[in-house]
């Protein structure tokens, strides 16, 4: 790995200034569970590594019914997964956070890092997508809010602009919502998702968010449309399964075949509808 300068700003403006100064030669460093791997594999070779973990307050997790859940950029997966409010109001998000890597990795890895890394199989991507979460970013041009559906652009590409730092993610509170997070992997612990998904019921609406079946985590909007306001009987479930399969575009890779992923998508839609309709 190439030598680099390690910078540890104490305030957000300081961090933003560093990114403005060093531009492409700087990489933002949070939990490091992705950045360190990429450094070691020499996929990136930055001159500056800007560690935002020392900025006070960025690891906060707060909740109230009006504003929903706010997860700070530096909150770790374990902190999220074990947070009382998250467990109570967003248990599917807690489960997703705790499905990432190993306990040791989760002590470092952050949800925001997971989202910014924009892997198609980001485990915390689907619960946030299902909840219509909003990403809060600060940059040279000030603050902005990005709906998560506009955030993922492609594999490892987000709509963040150069020099922007995600400070938090806000997850709206949906009274009475019930959700199920599912991760299917080759191994139950310490593995990447073969398919991950969140199925969420909000009143008479069902939401389906899937990971690892397309270049980005995505919502199955047509399937959602199909079942909205209806009681999912056997016939509708079969229809939904078929439609869901047509909305995803998985690939075959070393982890699984395209066919297997398709089958799992169908299974998750079916199980989700059966479980949540009760």
């Amino acid at each position: 790995m190439k030598q680099f300068n390690y910078l540890a700003p104490k305030t957000l403006p300081e961090a933003l200034q560093m990114l403005a100064d060093y531009k492409e030669s700087a990489v933002l460093f949070n939990g490091g569970t992705d950045v360190v791997v990429r450094l070691r594999d020499r996929l990136i070779a930055p001159d500056y590594v800007v560690d935002i973990k020392h900025i006070p307050g960025l690891d906060d997790i707060s909740f109230d019914e009006q504003n929903g859940l706010t997860i700070g950029a530096c909150a770790t997966m374990n902190a999220i997964g074990e947070n009382e409010a998250v467990c109570k109001h967003y248990p599917f998000l807690a489960k997703a956070a705790l499905s990432v890597g190993s306990r040791q990795v989760r002590n470092r890895a952050t949800c925001i890092g997971n989202i910014c890394n924009a892997s198609p199989l980001a485990d915390t991507g689907t619960p946030l997508l299902a909840c219509d979460a909003v990403i809060l970013a600060e940059g040279p041009d000030g603050r902005r809010e990005i709906p998560i559906r506009d955030f993922f652009i492609f594999v490892r590409k987000t709509s963040l602009k150069p020099g922007e730092i995600v400070t938090a993610i806000r997850v709206p509170y949906i009274a009475g919502a019930e959700g199920v997070f599912t991760k299917v992997a080759r191994r139950r612990e310490v593995d990447l998702s073969t398919v991950c998904a969140t199925v969420l019921r909000c009143g008479d609406e069902f939401r389906f968010a899937f990971g690892s079946v397309a270049p980005t985590p995505l919502r199955l909007v047509k399937t959602e449309e199909l079942v909205r306001g209806k009681k999912p009987d056997a016939a509708l479930i079969e229809q939904a399964v078929e439609l869901a399969r047509s909305e995803v575009a998985p690939i075959s890779d070393v982890r699984a075949s395209k066919e297997y992923r398709m089958d799992i998508v169908g299974l998750i839609v079916r199980r989700g509808l059966e479980t949540l309709a009760k």
């Binding site: 190439k2 080759r186 191994r187 593995d191 073969t194 070393v254 075949s257 066919e259 297997y260």
Partner: protein, 772 residues
């Protein structure tokens, strides 16, 4: 017995759990240089030119070498390997050049600056294709390679060994059979994934002395290989193997040592270190060979197997210097632990442009039993008897005859079978928790012998200190399997002292005595016999001196708890420390001097076999046999397979340390589970697609089933206290037991490992389509 058969704590335990044990990677020496390797991006390519000039100019780079620097080939059984490619690169990831530099970073940068021009050649990426007459030839000079006389390379082909087993009249056997079945299987390459990757440091000094610190299983074999490769006398090569972080066979041979030695020679006096990354471990250490298996079986209505014809085609990789012996071992064991009167087996070692195949726990047995044991279940189903019954009928008993024509005086197989049947409550079907979660049980047997030349040797030395404590020296290496502890217990038993009074020292070819290799599940047996002989020699010396001191005949004296004791009058006793430096006589003169026991061992009556038929009186030291049971639960919607329970019963002859025995067996079952469900080196056009733990999965603690370990001890007459080797055999039936359980659950047979969730759903869909 006070020490043997007792679960004492590991003698290396405290150092290991406190992190104080020093491994090669912990070694940092003054003026140490760091090596890095340039690797071929092609599966098969002619090396047109290598330009090292830019790399050499980089400040901090000390030396850059290519295969041209040292062209002599080497190898354990077949001299077909260069440490750095010469002329052609034969697998993707093969070392073509190496750098020594002041820092690791500089060495890495230098590697990037080496420019290699290649001309890509057609590659062999399938062993069966590689046997065809029109296949590209990987070693055109095979016919001229130096080879041990027990191996038979076929010049002008990719076949570096063909083992033949011919017993009885196999065609007549098929003709007399009521049912004849034939099936094929494939077992892909897997990697050992020791927790510590390969690492070595070499230092060449001005007086011509070469010292190599290597994480290796067999320092003497490494010394021999390196001395031969670099034309050095053995007294000028010292190989030190300190603590080893797991080997599983991968560290049995010589790999990266050959790269650091020439670099150290070019930088006289400066140690050079090379540490493989996990990725390099997957690509360029050793892998378990892949194998294509074909089994044809003829069976009588009553379940007696009359004939079996098997073919093993091994995908042995680019170099087979070690792999040829795996192919031989598989041939000798070709039928499994079954008494089959007519047999025919061919085992072929085939060069491919894949990573180099080498020894892996089981040495071919885990692979062939994946076919053999599933085959037995299918044969049983065919004739309408249970899978247990067919094993009862055909499993080897005392007086039974092995595939190689050896008459067994004793056999623990049947006891193991019955024990597992009882422990699994095998005849009671599993209860499935739901229609989509199906449970079932499976069973499989297995055997293995130490796959070693017939005359390989072991030695041990034991020295008594002035206070009656001892130093035990051998070169049987503790690679995690617990041999330091077991060997200490054997010595303690003979000397009748507490094991804490003995400190074991291993792994330094300048100071510890000869040991052929720590492989083949032979250390407790071979090194154990040498240790026992050394301890008996020391005991004899003590008693010789004691009869002078005590005035009683030797036959009336024995060692007991640190004393020489009169057998009939135990109150008459003298501490053994009295004799540590010999004996002081009443006139103040001394006799004998310091007490040292020595032991040398080779397997008695282990003889060669007929090369045309594989038949012999005693072609192997012993056979270790046993049986595994497995219960699985399969989610038919996701395809996920969970192993709920595994039971092992083996015949270890005599268990030296029950706690360590259990640990070995538990580890073996979980390792077998890994190969059955997760592990595969995914190869595409010779490229390893999953060369890290991101996509090469091994079991975690979460995947551990309930593990039950049983034994059926039938003493091995030539073993120390009756012990035979168990480290590898206990892994052999694990994967097929799981495969059989899966087949019993789903009614679908899987002919390939690993059995993944993806495979399960696909097979269930096909089954459904067929039924519809």
């Amino acid at each position: 017995m006070k020490s043997v058969g007792v679960s004492i704590d590991r003698v290396d335990g405290i150092k290991k759990v406190t992190g104080q044990a020093k491994y090669v990677d912990d070694m940092k020496m003054a003026r140490m240089l760091y090596a890095q390797v340039k690797r071929s991006p092609y599966a098969h390519a002619k090396i047109l030119s290598i330009d090292t000039s830019e790399a050499e100019k980089l400040p901090g780079v000390k030396s850059v070498i290519t295969g041209e620097y040292y062209k002599k080939r080497g190898g354990l059984y077949l001299e077909d390997k260069n440490f750095l490619a010469v002329g052609t690169a034969k697998f993707r990831g093969e070392a073509v050049a190496a750098v020594a530099a002041e820092t690791l970073e500089i060495a890495q940068q230098a590697v990037d600056l080496i420019k290699v021009e290649y001309e890509e050649l057609p590659a062999v990426t399938n062993a069966i294709e590689g046997m065809k007459p029109d296949a590209p030839i990987i070693h055109p000079d095979l016919g001229s390679y130096k080879v041990a006389p027990i191996f038979h390379p076929i010049a002008g082909t990719n076949i570096s060994h063909h083992f033949k087993l011919r017993k009885g009249d196999v065609e007549k056997g098929f003709a007399e059979s009521d049912y004849v079945t034939e099936h094929t299987y494939y077992v892909p390459h897997v990697q050992h994934v020791p927790i510590e990757p390969h690492v070595a440091v070499a230092q060449y000094e001005a007086d011509g002395k070469l010292t190599v610190w290597a994480s290796c299983q067999s320092p003497f074999a490494v010394r021999q290989a390196l001395a031969a490769s670099f034309d050095l006398p053995l007294n000028k090569v010292r190989v030190i193997s300190p603590y080893v972080g797991g080997g599983f066979g991968a560290k049995a041979g010589t790999t990266l040592e050959g790269i650091v030695i020439p670099l150290s020679m070019l930088n006289c006096g400066r140690p050079v270190k090379l540490n493989y990354t996990r990725e390099e471990e997957f690509e360029d250490s050793y892998v378990r060979q892949g194998v294509h298996i074909k089994i044809k079986t003829g069976v009588r209505k009553d379940g007696k197997i009359l004939a079996e014809k098997v073919e093993y085609v091994w995908d042995a990789g680019a170099y087979t210097e070690y792999g040829v012996n795996i192919v031989k071992a598989a041939g000798l064991a070709a039928l499994g632990p079954y008494d089959i009167p007519n047999a025919w087996a061919d085992s072929y070692c085939v060069y491919t442009n894949h990573p180099v195949g080498g020894p892996y726990r089981g040495f071919g047995m885990c692979e062939i039993h994946f076919g053999l044991e599933q085959n037995l279940d299918m044969v049983a189903r065919e004739i309408g008897i249970s899978e247990v019954e067919i094993r009862r009928i055909n499993g080897l008993r005392a007086g039974g005859i092995t595939g190689t024509g050896q008459v067994l005086e004793d056999s623990g197989y049947q006891d193991c079978l019955e024990t597992v049947v009882k422990e699994m409550d095998y005849d009671t079907p599993s209860v499935s928790p739901s229609p989509t979660k199906i449970r079932a049980k499976g069973i499989a047997g297995g055997w293995k012998s130490p796959s070693m030349p017939t005359d390989v040797a072991s030695a041990a030395i034991i020295r008594m200190n002035e206070d009656g404590t001892f130093f035990l020296m051998t070169s049987g290496q503790d690679i995690g399997q617990g041999s330091d502890t077991a060997l200490t217990q054997i010595a303690a038993e003979v000397l009748s002292v507490d094991p804490s009074k003995i400190t074991i020292r291993t792994g330094d070819t300048d100071h510890t005595p000869y040991e052929w290799q720590t492989v083949a599940s032979r250390t407790t047996y071979c090194a154990g016999n040498a240790v026992k002989l050394a301890a008996e020699d020391a005991r004899d010396e003590i008693l010789d001196l004691a009869q002078i001191k005590m005035g009683y005949g030797k036959r009336d004296l024995e060692l007991r708890d640190g004393f020489v004791v009169h057998k009939m009058h135990p109150e008459i006793k003298v501490p053994i420390s009295t004799f540590a430096l010999g004996l002081t006589m009443p006139d103040a003169s001394g006799i004998h001097g310091p007490l040292i026991g020595k032991g040398s061992f080779v397997v008695p009556n282990n003889m060669g076999f007929d090369h045309e038929t594989g038949q012999g009186t005693k072609p192997v030291a012993f056979w270790t046999m046993g049986v595994n049971g497995a219960e699985v639960e399969i989610d038919t919607e996701t395809g996920e397979i969970r192993v709920l329970k595994m039971v092992s019963c083996f015949d270890p002859g005599k268990v030296i340390n029950p706690k360590l025995y259990d640990a070995q067996v538990e580890g073996a079952m979980v390792q077998a589970l890994g190969t059955a469900l997760f592990e595969e080196l995914k190869l595409k056009d010779g490229k390893v697609l999953n060369k890290s733990f991101v996509d090469y999965k091994i079991p975690t603690a979460d995947d551990m089933p309930e593990l039950v370990v049983k034994v059926a001890e039938h003493a091995e007459p030539t073993g120390p206290f009756g012990a035979r080797g168990i480290g590898e055999p206990v892994m052999v039936p694990g994967a097929p037991a799981i495969a059989n359980a899966v087949a019993n659950a789903l009614g679908v047979r899987f002919y390939r490992m690993p059995i993944t969730a993806d495979d399960v759903l696909k097979a269930l869909k096909e089954k459904k389509a067929q039924e519809a």
